[in-house]
Symmetry: C2
Subunit: 434 residues, 2 copies
Amino acid sequence: VEERKDDFIRETLEGVNPADITELLEEFDAEDSKYVLELLDPEVGSRVIIELEEDIQSHFLEHFTSEEIAVFLDHLDSDDGVHILNGLPISKREEVITLVENEEKAGYLLDLLRYEDDVAGGLMAKELIKANHNWTIQRCIDEIRKQAENVQKIYSVYVVDDNGILLGRVSLKRIILAEDNAKIADIYDEEVIAVETYVDEEEVVQTMQKYDLEALPVVNVRGKLVGRITIDDVLDVITEQAEEDIQMMSGISSDVEEDDTVWIISKARLPWLVIGLVGGLLGAKFISLFETEIAIVPAMAFFIPLITATGGNVGIQSSTLIVQGLANSSVFSNSIFRKLVKMLAVAIVNGVILAIIVFGIVIFSTSDQTIAITVSTALFSVVLLASFMGTITPLILNNLGVNPAIASGPFITTANDLLGLAVYFFVAHQLYGL
Amino acid sequence: VEERKDDFIRETLEGVNPADITELLEEFDAEDSKYVLELLDPEVGSRVIIELEEDIQSHFLEHFTSEEIAVFLDHLDSDDGVHILNGLPISKREEVITLVENEEKAGYLLDLLRYEDDVAGGLMAKELIKANHNWTIQRCIDEIRKQAENVQKIYSVYVVDDNGILLGRVSLKRIILAEDNAKIADIYDEEVIAVETYVDEEEVVQTMQKYDLEALPVVNVRGKLVGRITIDDVLDVITEQAEEDIQMMSGISSDVEEDDTVWIISKARLPWLVIGLVGGLLGAKFISLFETEIAIVPAMAFFIPLITATGGNVGIQSSTLIVQGLANSSVFSNSIFRKLVKMLAVAIVNGVILAIIVFGIVIFSTSDQTIAITVSTALFSVVLLASFMGTITPLILNNLGVNPAIASGPFITTANDLLGLAVYFFVAHQLYGL
């Protein structure tokens, strides 16, 4: 298809959803993609670009001139436009904005560039339909008609007073059902949920999820309506947050992707590896205290990985459940004391079962009673202690205002390795009487 | 407030959003909650119940008679109603449905109960606005008026032919802007994305996310419009899926919550613990092959936890990045070969840094050159091998059609523990020449 058959490509792609064209382009190289994009209507082309994955997008835009990018921005909502601008080198941003034909849009973009991209102001679009509370329905419909081209999706019309202060909202359904000469003031819903521009994106997500909103108006500190956040942007935030949590649990310290450079990926992975290393060295130091014992009973060394691995697994399981409980805030329904009791019960059940299995297998294969008792006792204690650590650490971190998810990662594994070793050698020391 | 001051409570809660009342109720016991709910308008009360967390909800509904539950169902969309029914004992479900006053609603509920709750049919609501393609806009608006009470949120009107086959959609915006006597057939958009009832919920989420849809029509195998899925339901699915992935990574084998019974939690945690145990026992068996060596050089045992922990950490980091890459399908843009090369580069960078740190510390603290070389060489090799395992395992699982996220959990840790031991003792064996 890439023999530059203009008409054929144009015909084939006509009516195809931009998201599907995007998928197609991601398999082409930059030059071919650019060629295809230029055949498309800029309206469609701009939507294709916005659907591209972030890395691919910014790589891709390097092949376009500022003029060409400005044309795309002309056809995009301001929130999507700002995403594109944020992916450009700072020097290029202003140049592109001055080239945007629609002056209102250019103003929107300049406005939005001021916000950090993880707060409400950075998520919102400036395009929305607002109606003065003194208007009639007919006037409001005229306004919708006028704005229809700029605003892609209308969920509600926001009602403001003469100073632009947000008063309430009217759903489209209500507008359709109202008489043409009814006044907005008579039909609007005063209970509108809004957020201020500086609100964190996590809170935005929670608000929209809690109240099942598909659009959330954003106001400035004086209550003036300045934008709206739509549900599709929030979906992306949710997906990103879940990814970040998982990376945190895996000991990757900053948001990296497979496509990042070797050095960025290495750097993101190194901190937790070094912490694990320090833990391992402390463990080595600790075991070295038992050097003479190991020389006499080398079998003691055999079960070191068994103990540390089980401690790590149990700790991560416990902390994950607690972290998820905290996120769902069901924590308030259970007191910390009840939590700990339950955790203890689960640990005892699992600890007893694991200890019996290990005791059976060790006695069967070595017929060394002392080592079997040592290992199974230590294992049972480690399960208990690791559960306790896994439960209490995220709770403490949460109380300190630290994201408790960090505790589900290498942190808990490293701590439990050391704890496991201590328990194991303590039990061995007692039983062997060395 | 719980001195049964009816009027006061009613006044206070008037106009409060149902989601906020729900939060309040979650801190009360079942009896107090029931009392408050009965004071509320059933319209509001039903929305409060649907916002309750699943466990609390079903626990809570035990205190209501079938008649009372039926009243709530009368005020809920059919998808929310089915959620409530699914939380009831099977014996009670039919009784409640026969008590639902609105016969159309009762029919909807019976219909929806047939679907599994993880497919499109189980997510959809039957309430929607459909218009025959021959209608005029005016007729369509009349229909919206008639249905307005039943359908909470209208995003689009779906256009069907005389047999109910889905033809397209018209946005509310378009209806407002059209002339009253225009025909639906002239203004509707034929490009409507729909899913069939049996489509998996994950695919539903992907479709809605990809095309930025706030509602997705559901059709049966013959193309007949049977329901629609709204974005708020999909948000819940996304959150659930993310939780499941994290639990899978933590070695919790089925979807459990903190509130589940001790036995259910223990059972969900046991399988991976046992697998870890078997890994640990194999490790013990393996180390025992070097019993004589350890008796001579006990220092060899000191660094076992260091090696296994680093192997585990590196493996999980690698597999997480690959799993997330697979989920974002950016995998297709990079060949597997390039992936492996990059992984190798990252592993070399990290491996060299870690090996140098360890060599320095060990030589400084023990001045035993042989052990320093052994440990740092083994560490470097383990980082390389664990990266390789962490990269290749999810890719293989994915090719076999298994969810690759399972590889990020205890599986990779256990495998890498064994791998690490093998490398460590192999290197030690060579260097010590034992």
